[in-house]
Symmetry: C2
Subunit: 149 residues, 2 copies
């Protein structure tokens, strides 16, 4: 099994503000995809991330306020290669910032498509940073293209 | 062992132009770090990437024109966690672009620092894309900060 995707970004915002943004569909819509539905506030809630006609669902698996958010991609509810994968956001601080450690784990293989997703996660984390620091991100469909379709 | 970093980016440029840029220190200086020394043109050449007083060296391990470039980080010649790791750039095309698959493999563990490097590679690949498509990248020290120091 592949160890998956592992990204770290530093954001000038409190861990509580970042945690709140990761559990609120309105806030998620400001950096990942504008069409975000469902709820991310409680364990076992389901969030729906829509990209045009495609929906990627995540079930909320763990929540620790101001510290950790974990989602799990259920079977048949999104991208095939993401089935049963988990996305975790671990928050820590130093004197200058809150650090988000995003890990997307449980991939069956380290495919070319994983590399595409890795770049997309990086771009969306930069979008998240821009929302938190400057009030404006680049969620889908306004995201920076890493691959021409 | 961790599978490491795996990123894919699509660039509107020919594989030969991208290959040339990956083997020329002047071109590397336009997207990774402005202070790039040595040579990347032949197998066993050594490239030096300087970040202020810190130097990361890579030996050129494989070269396949318009297809593949592989570097290896020698022991004691850069970042500890990068010792013996390899960076490969695999080039392929579709009708719209050349795809670069960057893999940075051989990490001993999937650490928080790896997540930092993963974001930095993503930012530098976007810088490389900007150089090839628009003539101007953001090499260190002009790179987009992913972590406040």
């Amino acid at each position: 099994m592949s160890s998956g995707i592992n990204h770290q970004v530093g954001i000038k915002a409190s861990p509580q503000a970042i945690y709140n943004a990761l559990t609120d569909v309105g806030a998620l819509a400001r950096w990942w995809t504008t069409d975000t539905r469902g709820s991310g506030k409680k364990v076992r809630d389901t969030i729906e991330f829509w990209f045009a006609d495609f929906c990627q669902k995540f079930d909320v698996k763990e929540l620790e306020p101001a510290r950790r958010v974990v989602w799990k991609s259920p079977r048949g509810q999104g991208c095939d290669e993401w089935e049963d994968t988990e996305v975790s956001f671990d928050l820590s601080t130093d004197d200058k910032q809150t650090l988000i450690q995003l890990r997307h784990t449980g991939w069956r293989a380290s495919t070319d498509f994983q590399g595409h997703c890795s770049m997309r996660w990086a771009v969306f984390l930069l979008s998240f940073k821009d929302v938190m620091e400057r009030g404006k991100g680049r969620p889908y469909p306004y995201d920076l293209e890493v691959h021409y379709r």
